[in-house]
């Protein structure tokens, strides 16, 4: 396999964007391309992730082409998934040898729709969507199963929120942050039991861009390229009533295929929109308690649908590039209750 490194990453996240997707994307793509050290015209492949349902219009990604330098014509593809899977497709393209570099981007205006309701369209269209369960209720069913099947309590969930919000204070792209304590949070009423507001994601609007490059070109472009040592993704069956929602088998499998346990990780950026999901995923990855989790504050504190998974990978890469850790696990999820998971192992020089 060719060694591929992340050489630049840029993002923008705010609670509500009034700009259109192109206007949000342009500065982010320009920053990522500038930081990569490669002229836009020399980047071999372009791949993006988004979903039409966020804005309620088909072909939203077609308009986005205006803002990413698709002239002269580019080798380009798009996945109707989180940008992390666009990164995977770009990584594969580089492995074929056809290109040596790729621009990966993702965007989403989560705030324009009622996102808790929009996500009901991700469920069984025949037997579940017509009941219109909101996304938090679906996650709460998983949370209860997990808590009642383990030694964890609602306090453990609150601890995840406290830590995430404190770490998010150093992350300008987090939408929620601040110092608080578990007691204060646990005194709040349930949003949908057993979950309270602090257990649920702060949705945000934004865009993300990243440049990845193969082999020696990466070492020429960047003093500390962040190598993608392993990357894999898997999916579990769809039916919520069939799955064991207290586990994420596809995350376990992706982690082992990506080689997570081949050496200790210094920290992990886990795409867990809900606090209980971080605990489920930490168990899936077999991470010891000493590993720092979500130094960026994670998707709990800023969740732009279709790009928050790519943001976890980007945040992890930034931290390694700054020398704050040599090996990290970065994860992205998709689908209801962690149905589909991507894991990548990042290493500095």
């Amino acid at each position: 396999m060719r060694d591929v490194a992340i050489v630049s990453f840029a993002q923008s996240n705010t609670a509500r964007e009034d700009r259109n997707e192109v206007e949000i994307l342009i500065p982010v793509v320009q920053e990522a391309v500038k930081r990569s050290g490669l002229p836009r015209g020399e980047i071999g492949f372009t791949c993006s992730g988004s979903s039409d349902f966020l804005q309620g219009q088909p072909f939203a990604f077609v308009m986005a082409l205006d803002g990413v330098g698709a002239w002269p014509p580019v080798k380009e593809s798009h996945v109707e998934m989180d940008g992390a899977w666009a990164l995977y497709e770009a990584w594969v393209k580089i492995q074929t040898g056809e290109v040596d570099s790729a621009l990966v981007y993702a965007f989403g205006k989560t705030s324009s729709g009622d996102v808790a309701e929009v996500q009901a369209l991700q469920l069984d269209p025949y037997c579940v969507t017509p009941l219109w369960p909101d996304a938090d209720s679906i996650a709460a069913l998983q949370a209860r199963l997990y808590l009642e099947g383990s030694a964890r309590t609602e306090r453990d969930l609150a601890d995840v929120a406290v830590r995430s919000r404190r770490d998010a204070m150093d992350n300008p792209h987090a939408v929620a942050s601040g110092a608080t304590d578990a007691e204060t949070l646990l005194a709040e009423p349930y949003r949908c039991s057993p979950l309270r507001d602090h257990d649920c994601p702060m949705t945000s609007d934004g865009a993300t861009a990243m440049v990845i490059v193969a082999g020696d070109l990466a070492t020429r472009l960047s003093e500390r390229p962040v190598w993608i040592r392993g990357i894999d993704h898997r999916i579990d069956p769809p039916a919520l009533g069939v799955r064991d929602l207290s586990r994420a088998p596809s995350a376990e499998r992706a982690a082992s295929r990506a080689g997570v346990l081949e050496a200790p990780v210094d920290f992990a950026e886990i795409d867990a929109p809900y606090t209980h999901q971080e605990l489920i995923l930490r168990e899936a990855f077999g991470l010891s308690d000493g590993v720092r989790i979500n130094p960026s504050g994670g998707s709990l504190c800023a969740r732009t649908l279709m790009s928050s998974g790519l943001n976890r990978i980007g945040d992890a890469a930034l931290r390694i590039a700054r020398g704050e850790g040599d090996r990290a696990l970065a994860h992205a999820t998709q689908g209801p209750c962690l149905q589909q998971n991507l894991v990548c192992v990042l290493e500095g020089e």
Binding site: R16, E17, D18, R19, N20, V22, E23, I26, P27, V29, Q30, R40, F53, Q55, G56, M63, L65, D66, G67, V68, G69, A70, W71, K109, S111, S112, G113, D114, E117, V118, L121, P125, Y126, T129, P130
Partner: protein, 165 residues
């Protein structure tokens, strides 16, 4: 055995999603311009091509194009089609003519509808002008231009507009 013999073979699952849509800067410039009976394009900077309708970027350079430039509501038809199929949001009597018109001052054609022109007289190179709704009905919507209609000016030769057809 069952109350009604015939099996259920389909279901209807209505979906209705409500969005609070924000137009973005470019569309806001354009639509607020229409509310004042002006057609506003945008460009990346002085001397750059004027894009109508503005979508926020000059796609060739992927730079933000938000500098407002007013263009004429007159222009040259560079392509057209006679439409005989109803469409969700166009309420003209069928058949009607839809046109790509290069407005004077703009560098990309603008798509709209032509009226008050016999179907067999529509041609590439023809001059036409916007027919606005009455002033009191002007609003930040594409409907502020009701349609385009022919004007009595000589046709523009094909060679001068070839690259736009």
């Amino acid at each position: 055995m069952s109350e009604e013999a015939a099996p259920v073979t389909y279901i209807v699952t209505p979906v209705r999603l409500e969005y609070d849509h924000s137009a973005g800067n470019a569309a806001t410039l354009f639509l607020r311009g229409l509310a004042q009976r002006k057609i506003i394009g945008t460009r990346t900077g002085p001397g750059q091509p004027v894009l109508v309708p503005p979508r926020g970027a000059d796609p060739r350079t992927a730079e933000l194009a938000l500098e407002a430039v007013e263009v004429s509501d007159k222009g040259t038809i560079v392509s057209y089609s006679i439409v005989r199929v109803p469409s969700e949001n166009i309420h003209f009597e069928l058949p009607y003519v839809c046109i790509n018109i290069l407005l004077d001052g703009a560098d990309v054609p603008f798509f709209h509808v032509l009226q008050n022109c016999p179907l067999d007289e529509v041609r590439i190179g023809m001059r036409a002008r916007a027919h606005w709704v009455p002033d009191e009905q002007l609003a930040p919507t594409i409907a502020s231009i009701e349609y385009f209609e022919p004007i009595d000016e000589p046709d523009v030769p094909f060679d001068r507009i070839r690259e736009h057809t």
